[in-house]
Symmetry: C2
Subunit: 165 residues, 2 copies
Amino acid sequence: MTASPTPTAALAFAHHDHAHCVGEVLARAEAASLARGARLTPVRRRTLEILLESHRAMGAYDMLDRLAAEGFGKQPPVAYRALDFLVEQGFAHRINRLNAFTACIHPGEDHAAAFLICRACNAVAEAPAARVRAALDAAGAEIGFTVERATVEALGLCPTCRTAA
Amino acid sequence: MTASPTPTAALAFAHHDHAHCVGEVLARAEAASLARGARLTPVRRRTLEILLESHRAMGAYDMLDRLAAEGFGKQPPVAYRALDFLVEQGFAHRINRLNAFTACIHPGEDHAAAFLICRACNAVAEAPAARVRAALDAAGAEIGFTVERATVEALGLCPTCRTAA
DNA sequence: CAAGAGATGTAATATCGCAACATATGGACT
DNA sequence: AGTCCATATGTTGCGATATTACATCTCTTG
């Protein structure tokens, strides 16, 4: 199984300015790294860039192929380390259900995200999830559990595939 | 990495009647299978029983070891098929973050569940998540996405580990 | 410049999960 | 009963995913 969706699968269902995603988000990541003292090194930066350009969920090994083709290391840890860094910094998300990663659309912000995965076309959208997170915090609080990080992934039908069916 | 938590990791943080979990839940699963025309065969039944007895998240290969030791098949599909059946029927849940499975505490009911995973002791609790689910449905609806199944997994600190720290 | 921390690269291997196929089991129907 | 069919079980073998361990390099700091 290849973790990444079909090549035509768009990340978000709604239209948006793609150049904005790549340029602006990259700039923000750079600023945030600087501010935090984190090092956005060439591999890491390029990894984020590829994630942003591809604009869909990518498996670690897909990323590794891309990186290797550009002269970076050829072994799995190269991709995993770069991706882990991006996730730690909040520049990317890991989607467990797909064993894949996506760039974060709004790094540095609020940062409770939910992923909506279309089971028909594999497209993945990142939805704001402040309310979902609040409900989860409340559910945890009831039994004394402190929620630190949450993974929220929904499987269903995107607008396009829904009307098609 | 072994997917299963430490042996001492309890499934739920709150106390509860363990015999109840095993006996009653198993009986319910049996009734539900009968009603639905699903076949709770020996491997499947035993798999659920082991899940209930162990009372924590178990990896598929851990389950395979148990099953093989009891005379069932020794190959991975044996465990995966039984576990998949249980998940399909709503008798168990898959926890993606841990590559593991747990028995469902209240099969047949409402059935929107969230998992609270303690990052210190690896204990896993299943929390009712009707509200979380409602918020997620709403977030999806805003962009026309229909949520069918949701995976909600929170990482944090359980009451015990929290006070210990 | 020397020392230490962190980043990168590689090899080897562990772990997870599935497709494909053969065989057995249990009903439904003559 | 006997035949047929759907479903379940068991096996081989493989592919995909992920990590550990270790060597090397590169910054940064004193």
